[in-house]
């Protein structure tokens, strides 16, 4: 039990430190790499929470495909150098103040009206295949079939949209 809490505390600290480093790093490539670390810690959290399929999906899709796409675009556009030109001088302090207010409000609500002393179920009381691909797949293809099919259409639309948006104009390219 106490090892669970220690492991959680170390991973939570790593997640928060990597998120803060992502926010305050000058170079966009460093921000992307810190975000990959953050996604890795979230994947380990999924393992702690009995979601092995989601953990591997997170590493493969989020850290392995989405962040690689981000890095490609950052290097394509040459966006490493960040020119932090603030048009409104009060924007950064106001944003941090509002973030603190949001955090205080969320903390109050979670501690007073939240789940309370509900403990996560121990692994012994869950079904043996909990969180595995076959169990998630059984639910996905039986109860959630319609959202699954709609998601496939969404991915097709996103792919077509991305290709159309980045297509060069034919009229100015040859002459």
């Amino acid at each position: 039990m106490i090892s669970d809490v220690i492991l959680f505390a170390v991973l939570a600290l790593l997640a928060i430190v990597s998120a803060v480093s992502m926010l305050f790093s000058r170079n966009a490539v460093y921000s992307a790499l810190f975000l990959i670390i953050n996604f890795g810690t979230i994947a380990v959290f999924y393992l702690l929470l009995g979601a092995p399929f989601l953990s591997m999906a997170q590493v493969t899709v989020y850290a392995g495909a989405i962040m690689v796409l981000f890095l490609f675009v950052i290097m394509l556009l040459g966006a490493e150098q960040l020119r932090q030109r603030q048009l409104l001088w009060w924007q950064q302090p106001a944003a941090i103040l509002m973030g603190v207010i949001l955090l205080v409000e969320a903390g109050y609500l979670i501690l007073n009206r939240g789940p309370g002393e509900d403990y996560l179920l121990a692994f012994e009381s869950l079904v043996s295949d909990y969180g595995g691909p076959s169990a998630v797949g059984a639910l996905l293809f039986n109860d959630y079939l319609l959202p699954f099919e709609i998601t496939s259409v969404l991915l097709l639309v996103a792919m077509i949209g991305a290709i159309v948006l980045t297509k060069e104009e034919k009229s100015q390219s040859k002459k």
């Binding site: 926010l23 796409l69 509002m98 973030g99 979670i110 509900d118 290709i163």
Partner: protein, 99 residues
């Protein structure tokens, strides 16, 4: 382990993502902060899914990851298209509709 720990961690990460959207000027880093917010919500989903012993929360996270992937594809295509005309991705410089 009480589920409250996970929910508080999710709230902290979400707030960090929201502050990141507000204070950064690079469009790609703003996009990455949105992904951080989505991941914070996913963490809360999976924690509650184990609280009740069902898998519905995990299936929802599956859909959130898929929709986030589609959104990233289109959003980055938009940023590349904007960069072609404005030659900048600082959101302060591309905030007007005139070119």
């Amino acid at each position: 382990m009480p589920v409250t720990y996970y929910v508080i961690l999710s709230a902290i990460l979400f707030t960090l993502g929201a502050v990141g959207v507000l204070i950064r000027r690079n469009a790609i880093v703003i996009f990455m902060s949105v992904e951080l917010m989505l991941n914070a919500a996913n963490l809360a989903f999976v924690a509650f899914s184990q609280l009740y012993g069902t898998l519905n929360g995990q299936v929802f996270v599956f859909f959130v990851v898929t929709v986030a992937a589609a959104e990233v594809a289109v959003g980055l295509a938009l940023i590349v298209a904007i960069f072609r005309t404005k030659h900048s991705i600082n959101v302060d410089e591309i905030s007007s509709l005139k070119n």
